[in-house]
């Protein structure tokens, strides 16, 4: 009998889960209250990064994901994703930060990341400010256009037999004996039969987990991204200052910004991203926008004369330990989490989809071996005093 899987969420992670699960022959239904990629996916920059990750469970997932993005590009066509293997350039503004960056890169290299120290950063990026003591080039860093990528993955899933339904999941239907999932209920009153439910609801993953009886703590972290007027190519790589590496893993409540600057195919330059813990507060913060602009202008002085055309903000979903939660929830058999990717959800999506599929199949899938990614399991949050809420 084919395993029936309901994927909650049609963002890039949900689409990747559907794509891999449907490719593996599972019976897949994707449910979202909105269209594909309309939530956090549409507010991302499309980072597929190894450079910002320290050795550990997330880097292992990122490594696999980088390979799977290439595979997806080959299967779906690189243009359908706007996949660009442009490489990343992390620059240090001082001699001390260059030393720290060098040590960080050496540990990454030991974990299998390709790193290339650069003495003259302006050989790679001619428009960088003078006087930058050096940096590291990460040739594996890449970029996709997030909504196009999510739409392409979902279309491919549908070609493999998956269905996409509009609706909001309101709860789980479980068997009387053992509490195993037998379906999900929608707000419209329908019941979708399911042997497994994948919680790929991104920033809303905490709420969906609660509705399924398997709560996980997923919190929003606000980020602004700036978009400039379209220009001829001026920035070739993803360029960011070494401070970003420190910020990604930070749990500081206040504002942090360290900008990532990169060009896009449309000619615009993206400048991201700030990180603020302000809940789901959607208000504009002009101080954050000004700070990002100032940092970008310090990296690339020519930007001073370039117009900001647009700013947008999104809510990056993060778990308290800043690692995604991917894997089956022992409290409700059949619930598999795939959320909490913070600012790395686009990059980590294919590997998350493959890993979820491997958990569903009970065997490795496309290089994803559940035994190799135990650090992402929800079990890490389930200390004895933590009980599922009723």
């Amino acid at each position: 009998m084919t395993l029936k899987v309901v994927v909650v969420g049609a963002g890039v992670v949900g689409a990747a889960c559907a794509y891999h699960a449907a490719s593996a022959g599972l019976d897949v239904t994707v449910v979202d209250r909105g269209p594909v990629g309309a939530g956090t996916t549409s507010r991302g920059e499309g980072n597929v990064l190894l450079s910002d990750k320290e050795p550990g469970p997330e880097l292992a997932l990122a490594h696999l994901s980088r390979t799977l993005w290439d595979e997806a590009g080959r299967e779906l066509g690189p243009d359908s994703l706007e996949l660009e293997p442009k490489g990343g350039l992390v620059v240090a503004s001082t001699a001390e930060s260059l030393t720290a960056l060098g040590e960080f890169a050496a540990r990454q290299e030991a974990a299998g990341v390709r790193v290339e120290p650069v003495e003259s950063v302006r050989d790679l990026e001619p428009h960088l400010a003078p006087g930058i003591p050096g940096g590291i080039h990460y040739p594996q860093d890449a970029q996709v256009q997030p909504v196009l990528a999510a739409a392409a993955l979902l279309r491919a899933a549908v070609r493999h037999g998956a269905r996409f339904r509009t609706g909001e999941v309101s709860g789980a239907v479980t068997a009387r004996d053992g509490g195993r999932i037998t379906g999900v209920r929608t707000a419209a009153g329908d019941v979708l039969p399911a042997d497994a439910v994948v919680n790929a609801a991104g920033t809303w993953g905490g709420e969906v987990g609660r509705r399924l009886g398997a709560p996980v703590e997923v919190l929003p972290r606000r980020g602004f991204v700036l978009v400039t007027e379209p220009l001829p190519p001026m920035v070739r790589h993803k360029v960011y200052s070494a401070d970003y590496v420190a910020n990604v893993a930070s749990s500081d409540a206040g504002l942090e910004t360290s900008c990532v600057v990169e060009g896009t195919r449309g000619g615009t330059i993206l400048i991201g991203a700030s990180r603020e813990r302000v809940g789901f507060d959607t208000t504009m913060n002009t101080a954050v926008v000004a700070r990002l602009a100032a940092q970008a202008c310090r990296l690339f002085p020519f930007l001073r004369g370039v117009h900001l055309m647009r700013a947008y903000r999104g809510f990056r979903p993060y778990c308290p330990d800043h690692l995604p939660v991917v894997g089956p929830d022992p409290r409700v058999p059949g619930v598999v989490h795939a959320c909490g990717h913070e600012g790395a959800g686009i990059g980590l999506a294919p590997a998350t989809g493959a890993l979820v599929t491997a958990h569903l199949l009970g065997r490795p899938w496309r290089g994803a071996d559940p035994a190799a990614h135990t650090g992402l399991l929800p079990d890490r949050f389930l200390a004895p005093e933590v009980r599922p809420s009723e």
Partner: protein
Amino acid sequence: MNEPADLVVVGAGPAGLAATATALSGGLRVVLVDSGTTVGGQYWRHPPEHARAAIATGDLHHGLRTYRALCRALAAHRAAGRLDLLLGHHAWSAVREGDGFAVHAVDRRDAPRETTVVLRAPRLLVATGAYDRQLPFPGWDLPGVLTAGGLQALLKGGGVAAGSRVALGGTGPFLLPVAAGLAARGVEVVAVCEAAHPRAWLRHPVPLLRNPGKWAEGAGYAATLARHRVPVRPRTAIVAAEGGARVSAVRIASLAPDGSPRPGTERRVEVDAVGVGWGFTPQLDLLVPLGCALTESADGNAVAAVDADQRTTVPGLYTAGETCGVGGAALAVNEGRLAARSVLADSGTDPAPANRPPTALRSAVARQRAFARAMALAHPVPPAWPEWLTDGTVVCRCEEVTAGAVRAARADGAHDHRQVKQLTRAGMGWCQGRMCGPAVHCLTARGRAYEPAERLVATPVTLGALADLDEGPQTPQTPQSPRAAQSPRAAQAQQAPTDNGHTDKECS
């Protein structure tokens, strides 16, 4: 003005001018900011001061007596130090700050140099008006095809006629003054193609009878157009424009009641300029990010929801004029006055007794709103307009996205302009969907009101100016540049009232 302001007004068109004058007469200190180089907005647009004597624009205007009275009132309060008039300032964001508001603007009087200023007050009144609603058609992106409002702005602002043989098209009474203004300057107006039928007005007799002034205005245009033998052709449309380097001809067709071209009626007319307008789209960019609730207007636009006295759903935030529904200048003036009275009441200040009592204002607003509603219902976007488009017709000019691409996105499940944007880039370019947004909406979600995309940056601003905002706190203690070193109010106070030419003289 050295005291803190009680109110910031954004927009110095009819609504903003009227609101400012009423608030000043009630004793408030006001900062009035506008991107233009003179006050008046689009409706009372005038040539630059030094050229006014040479360019006659009197026949293009209505309500100049009101305009001059408002200008005189502003000039007196400015001289008394109670009004900061900041022209050439573009507001790019308005945010809540503490118990009040901060309006972020860039001073572009010394363009291309940009200097950021922050205007703070406990209350904010947004009167940012509207701009032409455009519906694409084959050839609309040719040079020489303008908006009707663009043609009018060239006439009012510089006495410039954009062509010598002009066709006008679209819908709504606004086409008539544009045609009359052009004809009076010797332009051959070959046709005014009005998509609606005048009979549609007869369904709303009460608002018509209660607004006789509008009829008199319309009769004036009709007389001018008859004198110059300008044909006004109801239920026709410019369905295509042709040309090489610029437009050389239009195709005009009769329309069936649903707006589809009647087969066999199409004819080609040679022109050297075209003006098209399908009503207006309110400029809500500053209001939406503040969380102001929207409501549906009869013309298919989402507009700011206001109470009977022009308060938005955000405490301390008021709006007047086209932002709460397109209805023309006379209505905007009354709404501006009403909004300012609410500001005065909410500030605990009694409005000056010389002003019209609010009941009279309210009933005037209600009467004029009813007229605006009748006008909107009589001049809808033709339901079959998308039939005029080929798959190759460009819809988003900035990103060169075609109608075919928009239709493909819709077939892919995109059911509003935001999703189409994500899939096709329509609306991601320089204008950020201000031009193509209503059209993409009509192609994907007709039947619902058009809600513009949220734009956190209301006008492009250089990253350098923003960087200075971060690096240079604008206090006298840490000067960055002569202007930024002071608060904008302090900077303004040091200027003689006439030093930038923006004085009461400009109203003459």
